[in-house]
Symmetry: D2
Subunit: 261 residues, 4 copies
């Protein structure tokens, strides 16, 4: 029986591409996303056409029991979850404080932070019984610093980063590998970035910056997810960053005459 | 008319003591806490006996509109809020993942993180109109790193730290001073630490560690709150830590033979 | 007998102004700098005219024994050092890797990092015998992140930040308060910033940005140095940042369409 | 012609093992270390016996020109350096401030920080001409926080971490991948850890903690070095940590009754 990889947030970008990589590597992949059944079915088809096995489920992660049911059903039907990729974000674009509704702020937390907490409570007990398992959490620069207009997103990401640390502290010593992967840059992903900046700008970005590898290519991001998930337990990584070669890390600024030094 | 200082979370520890300090400094202080009217009235009495002015309100911060109403009423009756001290935490003690209920995890977020978001939306517009104001946010080591058993608390604190950064990014340039104060140690506070570890252990801690200034004394913590709130705008602090002289910072560990180096 | 404050790096900016503040507060201040005897004498005059006591010394900090002799002489003649302000930096402006000579890289380290190590070895023993003392170390954004062209400066600052932590770990529990103060912005200081960007640009900066408090005013920076040095030992700060209200912290970037989020 | 990997600090632990991994991967490896020609020759033999090609050189990295000559000779004889693994540390064990000599403090800096600066100046120009290259820098927890007794080591590591960031800022956009790898734990390495704690304790550590994968196994550490060096340029990692599954990260402490929370 194949080991199981569950991807919560399997869009066409990082989530779906990581799913493909794990399928290529011999996992049975369970892909879950909120909407766009067509896109989901396409991902499953691509995986099967490539010789892998996969299944897709549409779920609304913020609904009570949705995550729990998904995980329980996966364990029951597909088998124990070896790798859980938590790929839900809370990025709604830049909005001033007063333009961020209570609902948006709460939704960000429910999806990205509370969602991980629930997924952990649902999936970790089995992992602990097996003595092994892996959580790969797709994070963002907003987990490291809060930019203007990022109230909902940064609060959700910052909270989740700390949750990854508390999970790691409790379960690392029980054989569960928890990794927090900071995606520090724009990802070539039509479902997320594409939707946020619009098709025209996204297309322009792809043909300029993307043409010189200046956008994070999900295929290559997935290679690192694969690597981290298979690190030998004597040398685990808890946190790492990923960005295109041409992009400055979030901590840098461009040198200017009156630049802060 | 006196400038107004609103303390949300005015217990007998840092909250109430910062309230006293600001009253001594000429502010009219509005103290809000969840329960223990007797203790609240006592704080108000102490302030008045000392020549200051204050008022107390019991509110349940997580209730819809509670924070908003408190702030609106304060602005209407006492005047524009000059300093808002956000002193609500989410510390429920150490609990394993499976012993942390969904309710507890959510409550931590609602109190500490969502509560600040709501307070900011309610109070900042007036501050922006005035071109000045100050938010002092009492934080904890859990905002910097997630220890075992701290799932709810660390997630709430980590999220709030990022929110303080997004608020600072948007409003610092509008004249609002946002400061994130990391209380890195046990505080001599009967309402919080005392309740958590029990009266007997708290008393013992006070007479041993506390006797040699090894517990954070709220009176001295309040001096730094006062200083930060009155920093000239050409030299503002956004983040600082506080701990007793005898206690090692959270980032250190005790030297041991096989210590990680 | 007055307590003694030694300022190593007493230019007209932060160093000299902190010296003035401590003199106003009743300290006998010993000011040490590399050059410009006229400027040094002026600072001493200003302090004395204001009713304080001070003395100035020209020293080349990187010379063997220079720091040690200064500290020993100070202890012998003026008395035990209560507060040592280490205000030597390594900022030589922005230079590419190949334009940074070995000599420059080493000089940065000798001044800013090795200099503190030597000052600590020279001054801390007396402080430990007294059971108290304080080191205030003027730091920079370069201690937190390395920008392009900042090889010598960032390496020196980053090393020194870790040294401040090792000093704090060993001596905090012995009653020595070690504080690392991150000056995150341009300082209104003719001797350092003025020299680096030139008189004309400095003057322009002062009349525009500076006119709206957008440059760190050493007078107000000094108030925070004074506060930190006098914190009660139950509530010490090890690290804090300082910047003008209008300037974004180093961790932020300006919101742009394709901004990293 | 094979791509060249130069390992500066090729002991029997991480350095030599990374060398072996790159040799297995088809690189010609140049191993440089300070002493123990026998051990060095053995590593070269092992690589050749395994079908790879390698050469060993004894150098004293702190000597003027030693690093520069090594790099120049390597480029001339073996070819352009594709990957430079900088594996020199400054760990001399725990010593109090007064027990750390000026010479030790300086030596730590010369080896670990200045050494990297010189290696970068020597090797990067060729890499820039080729438009590609990689620096893998073996770091330590001491680059992230300064523990008691770690003055020389932490100052050197902290400085080097900032240097890695300045190098990355300048050369990432020129196609040079700079990675800072934080080894957060005890490594199963006889040349470094073994020497520091003594053969008897090292043997004991190996048979207890090591037997359950609680020591970082250089073979598995090397896999991550290999992965990072070959990341596609659209998704580079600048910083990551490595530790055994059973060991708590440096930022955590063990939960205790009066634990800081």
């Amino acid at each position: 029986m194949k080991p199981v990889c569950l991807v919560i947030g399997a869009g066409a970008g990082i989530g779906g591409t990581v799913a493909k990589r794990f399928a290529q590597g011999g996992y049975h992949v369970v892909l879950a996303r909120r909407s766009d059944k067509q896109g989901l079915d396409q991902l499953v088809c691509d995986i099967e056409a490539d010789g892998g096995t996969a299944e897709g489920h549409l779920i609304n992660a913020v609904e009570p029991s949705a995550i729990e049911t998904l995980i329980k059903d996966t364990e029951t039907k597909a088998g124990a979850i070896a790798v859980l990729v938590f790929n839900l974000g809370a990025q709604i674009g830049t909005r001033s404080l007063m333009a961020t509704s209570l609902k948006q702020f709460e939704l960000g937390w429910r999806m990205a932070c509370f969602g991980l907490f629930r997924a952990a409570q649902a999936a970790i007990p089995s992992m602990v019984r097996k003595g092994k398992g892996c959580f790969l959490v797709t994070s963002a620069t907003a987990a490291m610093r809060g930019n203007e207009g990022q109230h909902a997103h940064a609060a959700a990401m910052g909270g989740r980063r700390m949750l990854c640390q508390t999970l790691n502290a409790e379960f690392g010593p029980k054989g569960i590998h928890v990794a927090h992967i900071i995606v520090d840059g724009a990802v070539d992903a039509p479902d997320t970035l594409g939707k946020m900046i619009g098709a025209e700008r996204f297309s322009e970005l792809r043909s300029t910056v993307g043409a010189r590898d200046g956008l994070l290519d999900p295929v290559h991001v997935a290679e690192t997810y694969w690597h981290v998930a298979h690190q030998h337990r004597s040398a685990w990584t808890h946190e790492l960053d990923l960005r295109p070669w041409s992009e400055l890390p979030w901590w840098n600024d461009k040198p200017q005459p009156t630049a802060k030094i």
